[in-house]
């Protein structure tokens, strides 16, 4: 019994000593772990700092690469014999793409062949001729909100003369996301062909719709000099949208008191009476737009009030595009002079049917057949029915080669053939 007590006492003392030692080890171990933890935290912070520095270094490298790419002039200068074409090209490129550059030039042009069949051209134009047109557009950003945009039209006309005209020239102020104020000469926001679709590389036909025919249509592609407020805003979701433009300008000039036609030459306001109008476009879904336009004013002479009303439609689905416009011009002279007209156009891009971009499918996919039907009716005795058939071949998204044949039926039969190469840049 006594031995047992000694053994228990020994075990007790040993356990007491051992537990004391274990507790000390644990404390040391905890301290070591805590120390390691702080080291790990420090390393983590260091790693983050290094990563951050690497990111900044990467940004600096990219910025330097961009600078090098934007300074081609540093790669070479004019030769001893003078300024080389290469040097000029590089200077132009540097000017256009410099980070500080606020200028840019875009534009479009076309070369067109026109052949008049049957009774000859009723407008008195040569029966067959080549035409060339070049429209540079200059953009200049004065500030983030203030921009200047202008377009020149340089055209070699039927008479062999080169005509230069200011198509538009506006100073635009982006007041907010939904409103831009413009002043200067602008395309009148009436329907869509005149304001948006008339550039040769955008128009899917090599000729204008019959209602916009230069001489025998209802209205020309209209411009005006004045002020305009325009913009757009999403509606119930980002797929639905409303866009608008309202303007006030000098207005048109009456060609003849007994004719409904109006000229939009934008001479100074001849009767101190401004013309006002606008367009509202509604897109319930992204591929459908319905538009309504109006314009009203007074031209010189007795009873010179005129009213223009228009509507337009655009629908696009899977390569098929449908467009249509209606316009009605009313003038109150001694008699009421009304003229109205419309056109409908359907185009289909073959690439939406032939989805394979390679081989023959790729070639056929570049074709786009177009058909357009239009009429003008009203006071003018030269009412016209027009059926136009077209076939486009897209060499590039902004370079179409267009073949168009117009069947024109009016006072005289006046069919026309067009071949046009247009480009946008």
């Amino acid at each position: 019994m006594r031995h047992s007590g000694i053994v228990f006492a020994f075990i007790f003392l040993y356990g007491l000593g051992a537990s004391t030692v274990r507790a000390e080890e644990m404390r040391d171990l905890r301290k070591a772990v805590e120390a390691q933890g702080s080291v790990i935290n420090e390393l983590r912070e260091e790693l983050e700092r290094v990563r951050s520095e690497q990111g900044r270094a990467q940004d600096r490298v990219l910025a330097l690469e961009d600078q090098l790419a934007l300074r081609p002039v540093s790669a070479g200068g004019p030769s001893e014999s003078g300024i080389t074409a290469d040097y000029i090209d590089r200077r132009i490129e540097a000017f256009q793409t410099s980070d500080n550059s606020r200028f840019f030039m875009s534009g479009y042009g076309n070369i067109r062949y026109r052949d008049v069949m049957d009774d000859g051209d009723i407008d008195g134009n040569p029966p067959s001729t080549y035409l060339v047109q070049f429209n540079p557009i200059f953009h200049f950003r004065l500030t983030d909100r203030l921009h200047f945009n202008s377009e020149l039209e340089i055209e070699l006309d039927d008479g062999g003369e080169t005509e230069i005209e200011l198509e538009f020239g506006t100073i635009d102020y982006l007041l907010n996301d939904w409103l831009t104020l413009s002043a200067g000469k602008f395309f009148t926001p009436f329907n869509v062909f005149g304001a948006d679709l008339h550039p040769a590389w955008i128009n899917k036909m090599a000729s204008r719709p019959v209602i916009y025919d230069k001489n025998k249509g209802v209205i020309p592609v209209m411009t005006d000099v004045g002020i305009m407020a325009s913009g757009g805003a999403p509606l119930w979701n980002e797929d639905s949208k409303l866009n608008y433009a309202v303007y006030m300008g000098n207005g048109p000039v009456a060609e003849d008191e007994d004719e409904p036609a109006l000229e939009f030459e934008n001479t100074p306001d001849e009767n101190n009476n401004k013309t006002s109008g606008g367009r509202i476009g509604f897109l319930p879904i992204p591929n459908l737009e319905l538009g309504a336009s109006w314009s009203t004013g007074r031209t010189k002479g007795p009873g010179g009030r005129f009213n223009l009303l228009g509507s337009d439609l655009w629908y696009w689905n899977d390569g098929l595009e449908l467009r249509g416009e209606y316009v009605r011009l009313s003038r109150k002279s001694e008699d009421r002079l009304d003229k109205w007209g419309y056109y409908l156009q359907v185009a289909y891009r073959m690439s939406y049917y032939l989805t394979d971009p390679t081989g023959w499918s790729g070639v056929v996919g570049r074709f786009e057949p177009v058909i357009r039907w239009g009429q003008t009716k009203g006071f003018n005795p030269d009412n016209r029915d027009q059926l136009a058939l077209g076939l486009n071949y897209w060499l590039y998204p902004s370079v179409p080669l267009k073949l168009t044949y117009e069947f024109n039926q009016g006072k005289v039969k006046n069919d026309r053939l067009f071949l046009q190469l247009a480009y946008g840049f």
Binding site: L62, N149, N176, M248, P286, D356, T358, G362, G424
Partner: protein
């Protein structure tokens, strides 16, 4: 003359109202994914979509203002389109410290991030500038689709599809996602 004054008064009220709105306007940077969709929705209303690589970023920032004005595009959508054009011209480079997490990014996320549905139908919705990707594997195999994503001009020199600068792993993730969503 009365008409002129009414016009000026209307403009003045419009300006005053809009200036108040513009003061409170928040202008975040554009969103690339939404930009791809708006690029498809807005540009195709009048003309073919122009390839993003046609202009440099600085040029696009000037052109987009012009297009915003004549196309009556809301400012926020115009900024999204510009962001898409810039992203298309400046492929994102993989970060220097890219870890395994970057590689794990799912094909679905990448498709959303790069706005593929701006031009392609995927899962029944999307734009129509590019081919329908819901049926792409009826015509093509995975290698062809992967090569097309890596270099859109591999099969069609005139393709307007931007070079996205994706890694091989990211391309594989997208191809697998497209295959699964068939």
């Amino acid at each position: 003359m009365m008409r002129v004054w009414i016009g000026f008064a209307t403009c003045f009220v419009l300006i005053l109202t809009s200036a108040t709105i513009s003061l409170a306007e928040h202008k975040p940077d554009g969103d690339v994914g939404r930009g791809a969709k708006f690029y498809s929705d807005n540009c195709a209303r009048c003309h073919n979509a122009r390839p993003p690589m046609e202009h440099r970023n600085r040029e696009w920032s000037i052109v987009m203002v012009h297009m915003r004005i004549i196309g009556r595009i809301p400012g926020a959508q115009a900024r999204d389109i510009e962001a898409f054009l810039r992203a298309s011209n400046t492929p994102p480079r993989p970060p220097l410290h890219a870890g395994p997490k970057a590689a794990e990014r799912s094909g679905r996320e990448l498709v959303g991030q790069y706005g593929c549905q701006g031009c392609h139908v995927i899962g029944g919705t999307g734009g129509m500038i590019g081919p329908d990707l819901d049926t792409v594997f009826e015509r093509r195999d995975e290698a062809w689709v992967g090569a097309q994503i890596a270099n859109p001009r591999e099969h069609n020199p005139d393709s307007v599809m931007p070079v996205l600068g994706l890694t091989k792993g990211q391309i594989n993730a997208i191809v697998k996602f497209l295959r699964k969503s068939q």
